[in-house]
Symmetry: C2
């Protein structure tokens, strides 16, 4: 039995490829970059790439695979994007049609694949600095919420920002901001601190994706932009077809998290 | 008679629009961001956007205008990209066909416009820190060279990096690196220091674009990635049609250079 905390990225991808791991990847293959996935037919690729360029906090690009390519180069030299993710969501015209464990049967030659940074990459740095990461402590999927913050639209792509939330003790909020600021390629510093209602979140105990976590007395809810944002955009923009990872079930790369320190995310003005 | 050093961006763009200024823009409307221009038909837009994402040092995106749009939003709320640049180069199948002072007659509804940062934006900071900027001192266009450094290709787009060169006294090289590092959105830190032959430049007195400048005894040639790189890429990739600015003749925006400090350029791994 593989202990996911100890198993490396290659071993985890092999398990996933063989259908033996379909659970969330938080706390798995610790130390390595995990990536959010968006696959779109060619006709939507420019709009989505521009959307990422305009919204680097929720959509920091790590790697883009040109039309028809399903093997990564930068994130791993030995991965197949069609099989190496625990669970995929397949959307048609903005509706979730099904969740599947591989997508070889759905593959099209014009599919463009986008891999986006994930906040899991800065969690190890937070934990080392003794900032608690509750969903890791409680062995749950991170809680994710659809906000009322509108992303900057690009062509046909528009929609609200999705965020993750981590409850932080007040004396450690500054440290959490400082540490995560150094990881712009994986969402960087928080987008909001303290008042969920200000960003349109009504009830922290009912996340839109993932699991709720315990918020202890006095802890401050801190919100970071989340790579599930594209899925909220798909729901709103309704492309004919789109495949993503299932929230929390990410692509595990061979890239150490440390390589992302101070590395900029895509983004213009 | 307008003194270009004193005239603001609106005044300069008005002169340019009326055909009364077709000279280089170095040292003009000092204090404001200038931008390199690339316009491509829609079919090439994804490849070029991805090229920029993969090559953020030569191609740092400041703004992208979707198909058919010719008015900027972020760089200025009162500019027309078809008329507000002193000189345009029109390339067909990778060949320079003509240089014109406006492009309204060539405009197509599927044209996508890319505006890229320019190293002029960090020159004011260099000058304030008493690092000499020779081409400004000598009132010339900056010298630009095609190197043998290959950019990372994207789809149909491939080609060599173009660089600018500034001769720097040895005791100020460190300062020049430190200052320009803070401007990643306008090419950032140098890509090479000291030996032109190492990056394929044979003769500093014969730049591929712009004017040669005086190199004083002991000065070190320092090279920064240049937004003319797309033109070298166009020569090599041969799209059916492409319009760029004429090297050195840039778009003058309303954005103060200071706003670019520590602002990241597009770019993934």
């Amino acid at each position: 039995m593989v202990k996911p905390g100890q198993a490396g990225p290659k071993e985890m991808r092999s398990l996933i490829r063989r259908g033996k791991w379909d659970r969330p990847t938080a706390g798995v293959a610790m130390g390595y970059v995990q990536a959010n996935l968006v696959i779109l037919p060619g006709e939507y690729a420019f709009d989505f790439l521009l959307f990422c360029q305009r919204n680097p906090k929720p959509c920091p690009l790590l790697e883009v695979l040109e039309g028809g390519r399903y093997r990564t180069r930068l994130l791993s030299s030995a991965a197949d994007i069609r099989t190496d993710i625990p669970k995929y969501n397949l959307y048609r015209k903005g509706k979730l049609e099904r969740t599947v464990k591989e997508i070889r049967d759905f593959w099209q030659d014009d599919f463009v694949t986008f891999l986006l940074g994930c906040s899991f990459s800065f969690e190890e740095a937070l934990i080392k600095a003794r900032v608690p990461v509750r969903h890791v402590e409680e062995n749950r999927n991170v809680p994710m919420y659809i906000t009322r913050i509108a992303c900057r639209p690009a062509g046909k792509m528009r929609g609200p920002m999705v965020v993750t939330m981590r409850p932080i003790p007040p004396d450690k909020v500054e440290r959490a901001v400082r540490i995560t600021s150094r990881y712009p390629a994986v969402h960087g510093s928080p987008i909001h601190i303290g008042d969920p209602s200000k960003i349109g979140i009504k009830d922290l105990s009912r996340p839109d994706f993932g699991d709720p976590v315990t918020i202890r007395k006095g802890e401050v809810p801190v919100f970071w932009a989340c790579g599930v944002t594209p899925q909220a955009v798909i729901l709103k923009s309704k492309p004919d077809l789109c495949i993503t990872h299932s929230p929390g079930h990410l692509f595990i790369s061979d890239l150490p998290n440390e390589e992302l320190v101070d590395r900029p995310a895509a983004g213009g003005l």
